[in-house]
């Protein structure tokens, strides 16, 4: 059937900022969808608040609206944009929920807008637990015993039918937020209440727990002729009970017979049919009882998902693209398989390798968070390993994680068997390493299966790897030359890295590498082709393996390729911003006629789409794997400045092998990173840095701190568990810090920087070709220096910096760029205090802010940087020396935090980065841009109500004006002791409320009762932070907007004042209006 002609203009809804449970996979799907619609001749508009995405590039969609993903904001856009249809299945749960809200509010019917790809009825049927269960019963499938409840009383009644442990899940939430396993009445009550609260519809599912059942997922695509295909089956190594996003997963499914698999396949297809997914992709999850084979349907997502992104990368089948084509009316047999070119999309991929996904956690950033995994997702990223069998794929994935582990790590298990049992029963984030360790200590497969529920098939695979490691380690005293050839070959085929073998043999990695090379054992590259080699393909999608024969055809590409090293797994501080830069690098290299070669291991990215680059290597970003690729690629150069920290770590290896690095030389990058040498550069250029000192022991720390003077920012060289970077204001802080130093187990030297209080932090992103310098943006931060720049809200153009300071910033940027011979991008962090400009940090590479600035100024900075690296001058590209890019609008970037996912974690910001993503607000006025950014970041700002204010002594002078503004806008101020006194002294009318320690009724009671609409709470020192933690957690739990810095609160008050005096809120701007 041909495509629909009753619609011409289609809007795609993005997924908003990166949060736990919704990451770069929706940039991949949205980008594919926009392209798929454009090539069919549709006019495409896009809404998304996340600037760090390829999908929001102004030349992708016809119109791109950077607005908060709220139903109000969307309605305003729809009034202006007037699409014929909305495709809501590409933007995760966020987009689906918005589609439902738009329909409920009558917006769709009022404006005559259709939904394509799914329907509101289907979404409801799939998402509403009760309706879903009924639908499953109708088609003869079982789902877990469960009850949908809307109150605690109802929940308690359900408990009579289900024995503990019980699973609680909130309806309509992200990543399983608001759920958990309850083992007793107390836990039950607490989890039901929090679930009811977090569910946007106040609904919770009380369900029989399937702990220990196997978990499978099928990715299905269905068209309007009722043709369905299964793109991929995925099996979770972690059994039911751990969110699939936090599970190690494998494709294809490993432990099903064909009969069982076909049962799941048929069930999945009938589920799509019953739910009514007529034109699109869905993910269906099943639980299978390992003893009886009984199958239960867990859930289905009537949209593309993280799993479908994984399935796409795992098979080479572009699910988002095909789902988009069927949404506009094509049938699967009419769509071409872009990999084989000769077969249609109506087929089921067969793969002749194994794919393992391993989640990336970042608990170091959230020390108070529990590392026990459950139905609520906690991982911040993931990697995928492709290998010729399970072991190789698993080992590749584990070494891709960039957590300093080259394979199974040595972890310490408790002494007693009962403690080991307890530990293994808990699904901790590094359980696979603990399992390996337990095998080393002689525990049996049966015991570990009993404790972990992990299928014996996987346990045996792990055991074999452990045995192999032991066999290798036994040779650690022999010379390498005597190492048996067959053992080495087996180790390499089973995926052990050179580094891991070296660790086992207690030798240097380079020696193992030499031994391996001497014996002619090298990485070979196979194609991902969707068809297990049944058809001839030339797809440039490759993976390395030590089994098999190289299939690459590199003839004619020698010296013409440019390799861009990707950014690896997402984690805090290393997010999709860097993938955005990599993709731009690839695009620019291709535009200039080079073969762009991408290496990355993160399936949640656009860069790992096989048609983005000329060649994609889905491989770990380690020395061994990268050199393996480069040996035959023989590129003209490698780009290390786009992928954040990951590729920088590889730069020295490239230098060692005489592989040219494009752009700024690694030597200059090192210089900028080396504290002492860089200090000399700063002095040479006559610039300022905050005073600093280095302390080598606890004993000499006080003296060093005194030499710098309070306040100071301290950071140890290395610390387990993070959280050791801190601002110390006085001797009391210092004493407390040193007391904790022992327990934090941190490593000296300790870096001590003078902390510039009351200073404005500024980020400058610039481009240089070595002789001239172009300034992309000067970003003024809202939070003061001391809050990690990635966590701070910021905006451009700057508003509060004097002409003189701006001039200084510009001049110093130019000086530094030229001194470091920057070729490409450079980011500098400045602090401005009393009109003086200090340099905090210089990074001659792409920064996190590049996508945001690029969008704000209408210039693709990363692309331009790539062209510069390939030999263009800035002048060639139309940019003049010393120029500062202009922007017609105000852009505000706000950070988005994962605190909701980590019960017990404080929301106070500090020098340690904690945000997972960001949003952008764009307007003619600061106020609107700021308020949009706040809304986009999930702050549901009240129009009226009671504002609770409690600030530290340092912030008391500044709070008065803020409160007066809020008061004048009609908000009532509520405050505790000291803050209240200050406000009353300033002549304000303030309501008093008890601190928690003063007894009930206190502030937390008021928050819990829904009587507080906004919270402003700042602290200084650990003890006041501890005392007020319950306030911030309750605020978070109630989804009440909050500010933990006085600067943030001030910006809010200013913006609200301005917005109230002008009618700026109705304005709708699209990114394409920004044209240089």
């Amino acid at each position: 059937m041909p495509k629909r002609t009753d619609i011409q203009k289609i809007m795609i809804i993005g997924s908003g900022p990166i949060v736990i449970g919704q990451a770069g996979e929706f940039d991949y799907s949205g980008t594919q969808a926009v392209q798929a619609l454009k090539e069919e001749g549709y006019i495409v508009s896009l809404v998304n608040s996340n600037p760090a995405t390829i999908m929001t590039d102004p030349d992708l969609a016809h119109k791109t609206y950077m607005v908060p993903l709220t139903v109000e904001a969307l309605e305003r856009v729809l009034e202006v944009d007037r699409p014929d249809a909305i495709l809501p299945t590409m933007g995760g749960q966020t987009a689906l929920n918005l589609a439902v809200s738009l329909s409920d509010r009558g917006v769709l019917s009022r404006l005559g807008i259709k939904l394509i790809g799914t329907s509101v009825e289907s979404i409801r049927k799939a998402e509403d637990r009760g309706l879903f269960k009924k639908a499953m019963e109708k088609i003869g499938l079982s789902s877990p015993k469960s009850f949908v409840v809307h109150s605690l009383d109802e929940a308690k009644r359900a408990l009579t039918a289900i024995p503990f442990p019980v699973l609680i899940r909130a309806s309509f939430t992200l990543g399983g937020t608001g759920g958990g396993i309850a083992r007793n009445a107390e836990e039950f009550e607490q989890k039901v209440l929090s679930g009811l609260d977090l569910s946007p519809v106040g609904e919770v599912l009380v369900e029989e727990s399937l702990l220990g059942w196997k978990e499978f997922e099928l990715e299905v695509v269905r068209d309007r002729a009722d043709n369905s295909i299964i793109v991929c089956s995925i099996e979770n190594v972690d059994p039911m009970g751990v969110h699939t996003g936090d599970s190690i997963t494998v494709a294809p499914a490993m432990t099903l017979t064909d009969r069982e698999y076909q049962y799941l396949r048929n069930a999945a297809i009938s589920i799509l049919r019953e739910i009514g997914v007529e034109t699109g992709g869905s993910n269906v999850q099943f639980a299978v009882n390992p003893q009886s084979g009984r199958v239960l349907v867990i859930e289905m997502n009537p949209r593309v998902s993280r799993s479908s992104a994984l399935a796409s990368k795992a098979t080479g089948f572009p699910i988002a693209r095909v789902a988009t084509k069927v949404a506009i009316g094509y049938t699967l047999d009419e769509i071409k398989n872009d990999i084989t070119k000769v077969t249609p999309a109506a087929f089921e991929p067969s793969i002749d390798y194994v794919v393992v996904k391993v989640p990336r956690f970042h608990f170091e950033k959230f020390a108070q968070a529990s590392r026990v995994l459950g139905p609520q997702m906690k991982s911040v990223g993931e990697v995928m390993g492709i290998g010729h069998h399970f072991k190789e794929a698993l080992m590749k994935a584990l070494r891709s994680l960039e957590n300093n582990r080259s394979g199974f790590a040595s972890v310490v298990l408790p002494e007693s068997d009962s403690e080991v049992e307890e530990m293994l029963k808990e699904s901790l984030d590094d359980r696979i390493h603990r399992i390996a360790q337990a095998f080393r200590q002689g525990y049996s497969v049966e015991k570990i299966h009993e404790w972990t529920g992990v299928d014996q098939f996987f346990l045996n695979e792990i055991l074999e790897l452990v045995h192999l490691e032991i066999e290798i380690a036994e040779r650690c005293n022999e010379p390498l030359a005597l190492f048996p050839d067959d053992l080495l070959r087996k180790a390499k085929k089973d995926g052990l890295s050179d580094l891991r073998i070296a660790e086992l043999l207690q030798k240097d990695e380079s020696l193992v590498r030499e031994m391996r090379e001497r014996r002619g054992i090298s990485l070979q590259y196979r194609r991902v082709d969707t068809c297990a080699a049944e058809f001839d393909t030339t797809t440039p999608y490759l993976y390395g393996t030590y089994a098999g024969v190289d299939e690459r055809d590199l003839s004619g590409s020698e010296g013409k390729s440019v390799v861009i090293l990707g950014s690896g797994p997402n984690r805090i501080g290393q997010g999709v911003e860097f993938d955005y830069c990599c993709v731009h690098g690839v695009m620019a290299a291709r535009e200039m006629g080079f073969d762009a070669v991408m290496i990355n291991c993160n399936p949640e990215t656009v860069s790992t789409d096989f048609d983005i680059s000329d060649r994609l290597y889905f491989d770990p970003l380690t020395r061994e794997d990268v050199l393996g690729i480069l040996e035959e690629e023989k590129p003209m150069g490698v780009v290390v400045q786009f992928g954040g920290q990951t590729p920088l770590k590889l730069a020295s290896i490239l230098a060692e092998k005489n592989i040219p690095v494009l752009g700024t030389s690694p030597g200059m990058t090192d210089l900028a990173e080396d504290r002492e040498r860089f200090h000399a550069v700063i002095q040479e250029l006559g610039l300022l840095q905050p005073l600093s000192a280095l302390s080598h022991s606890i004993g000499d720390t006080p003296e060093m701190v005194m030499s710098v003077g309070f306040p100071v920012l301290v950071r140890p060289s290395y610390v387990l568990g993070g959280e050791a970077m801190e601002v110390l204001y006085d001797e009391e802080d210092l004493t407390a810090y040193l007391a904790r130093a022992v327990s934090l187990d941190f490593r000296f030297p300790l870096l001590i920087d003078s902390f510039l209080g009351q200073a404005t932090e500024v980020d400058v992103d610039a481009l240089s070709d070595g002789t001239s310098v172009f300034i992309g943006g000067i970003l003024e931060h809202i939070e003061e220096a001391g809050i990690h720049s990635g966590d701070s809200a910021c905006f451009l153009p700057p508003m509060n910096l004097s002409e003189k300071v701006l001039q200084t910033l510009r001049d110093q940027t130019i000086k530094l760029a030229l001194r470091l011979s920057v070729k490409g991008l450079m980011n500098i962090q400045f602090a401005v205090q009393n009109e003086k400009v200090y340099i905090l940090e210089v990074n001659p590479r792409a920064s996190r802010t590049i996508p945001f600035i690029s969008k704000s100024i209408g210039l693709p900075l990363a692309k331009i940087a790539m062209k510069v690296m390939l030999g263009k001058s800035l002048a060639d590209l139309g940019l003049s020396h010393g120029e500062v890019a202009r922007t017609p609008f105000v852009s505000v970037k706000e950070a988005v935090f994962p605190f909701k996912k980590f019960p017990g974690v404080d929301t106070i910001l500090g020098p340690e980065m904690k945000s997972t993503g960001e949003v952008m607000g764009l307007s003619r006025r600061f106020s609107k841009a700021f308020l949009d950014a706040q809304e986009g970041a999930g702050m549901n700002l009240p129009k009226q109500g009671r504002v609770f204010v409690s600030v530290s002594d340092r912030d008391k002078p500044a709070i008065i004006e803020i409160c007066q503004s809020l008061n004048s806008l009609g908000y009532k101020i509520v405050a505790t002791g000291g803050t209240r006194d200050v406000l009353i002294a300033a002549g304000m009318d303030v309501e008093h409320v008890n601190k928690v320690k003063e007894g009930s009724p206190h502030i937390v009671d008021q928050i819990a009762d829904g009587r507080i609409a906004l919270v402003v709470n700042t602290v200084s020192g650990k003890s006041s932070q501890r005392d007020s933690l319950s306030i911030r957690r309750e605020t978070l739990a109630r989804n009440i907007p909050y500010y933990t810095t006085v600067a943030g609160a001030k910006a809010l008050a200013m913006a609200l004042m301005d917005a109230s005096s002008r009618n700026v809120l109705e304005e709708v701007i699209c990114l394409q209006e920004i044209r240089r």
Partner: protein
């Protein structure tokens, strides 16, 4: 490290693939074909259509669920040799009764692991079906190649008549009151089971059964089963099939479909590397519907040789080859793919109910 005896696959074109022996020792010869199914190795092993063939599994992990009592398509392993990348010695499944390597040894099947199955598959795709020997008896390469060249072509083998007769299974409640005769050219057990599940009594008869003797028993229909080898050499059987045409409803599956086509005067030909997998899309030329089907054949019916009264019904979306025909005047259904699946998707199950309707009319 466990040690394995070496094993080599030697192809008629001189290519050699080596691996580790995991089954019986000795030498076996046959046509080498690849199968892309990711599950269902037990069904593949016991499918009589593979008689005379050495099968390469492209899926890298074989044997994970072991061998069970419910998934065999016949009473023994039917293929000649079995090649894999990796085989599981420690399967994990509640139905498992033995490991795959143990089963292969017990069945005397020469098998290998650690074969570079992807390179072998790419080679077969380029070169087409090749004859070869799989051996644990090491010899000079030149001598092994010579032996591979002397492997008789599958066209010369009488594989259909070498198969074991199918066991009569338990009588179930056969509610439809219909009875069909299943001519067993190497039938998969699932064909019989699918019919019985629809309440049909199935009587299995040997490949050389005369048309007249079938007609004398007045069954409600005849099913021509799948089976191994070249259909064109089965001239006497084709003659008997011709004797059935127009006399009662007929369902032809795979080899049965080819025999039916030959009986009406159409021609068959050998495909370059056959269709062996469970992900083959076919298009219903009349409804526009796509089915994902299980397929296992090296021969196909030439569409341009179909006589009047026959028209193409299904076509492969992979290579456009004919996958089924319909007869305008007779109650005959004839499909190249395997509606009984096993292994593979059950999209084509409706073929059996359609046949049932045909018999009721």
């Amino acid at each position: 490290m466990k040690s394995f005896a070496p094993i080599v696959l030697v192809l008629e074109d001189g290519t050699i693939f080596s691996g580790q022996s995991v089954g019986a020792s000795g030498t076996v010869s046959g046509e080498v074909v690849f199968n892309t199914a990711m599950s269902g190795y037990q069904e593949v092993l016991t499918d009589p259509s593979y008689a005379g063939q050495i099968v390469v599994m492209t899926s890298p992990m074989i044997g994970n669920t072991g061998i069970n009592e419910v998934d065999a398509e016949s009473s023994k392993v039917q293929l000649s040799g079995f090649l894999t990348t990796a085989m599981s010695y420690k399967p994990s499944h509640h139905q498992c009764t033995k490991t795959l390597p143990d089963y292969l040894v017990e069945q005397g099947i020469i098998s290998a692991q650690e074969i570079d199955t992807r390179s072998l598959t790419r080679h077969l795709r380029k070169k087409g079906v090749l004859r070869g020997i799989l051996t644990t008896e090491m010899d000079k390469p030149s001598r092994l190649i010579e032996r591979a060249r002397r492997v008789p072509s599958i066209e010369s083998l009488d594989l259909v008549r070498q198969g074991l007769p199918m066991h009569e299974t338990l009588k179930r409640s056969l509610t439809s009151g219909l009875e069909v005769v299943l001519i067993d050219f190497g039938a998969k057990g699932s064909i019989k089971k699918c019919l019985e599940d629809l309440g049909v009594r199935v009587r299995v008869v040997p490949p050389d059964t005369k048309a007249q003797s079938i007609l004398d028993d007045r069954p409600d229909g005849v099913v021509l089963s799948n089976g191994p080898g070249d259909p064109a050499r089965l001239t006497s059987i084709i003659g008997e099939v011709r004797g059935l045409l127009g006399r009662l409803p007929i369902l032809g599956i795979c080899l049965g479909h080819q025999l039916l086509s030959l009986a009406v005067g159409a021609k068959t030909y050998k495909l370059p590397f056959g269709h062996h997998g469970v992900n083959h899309p076919i298009l219903d030329l009349f409804s526009g519907k796509v089915w994902i089907t299980s397929q296992n054949h090296n021969y196909a019916v030439r569409e341009d040789s179909l006589p009047d009264g026959c028209e193409p019904l299904y076509r492969s979306l992979y290579d456009g080859s004919l996958e089924g025909i319909r007869f305008s005047r007779s109650p005959i259904l004839s499909v190249q793919f395997h509606p009984e699946a096993a292994p593979g998707p059950t999209d084509a199950f409706p073929i059996f109910s359609e046949f049932l309707e045909m018999m009721k009319r």
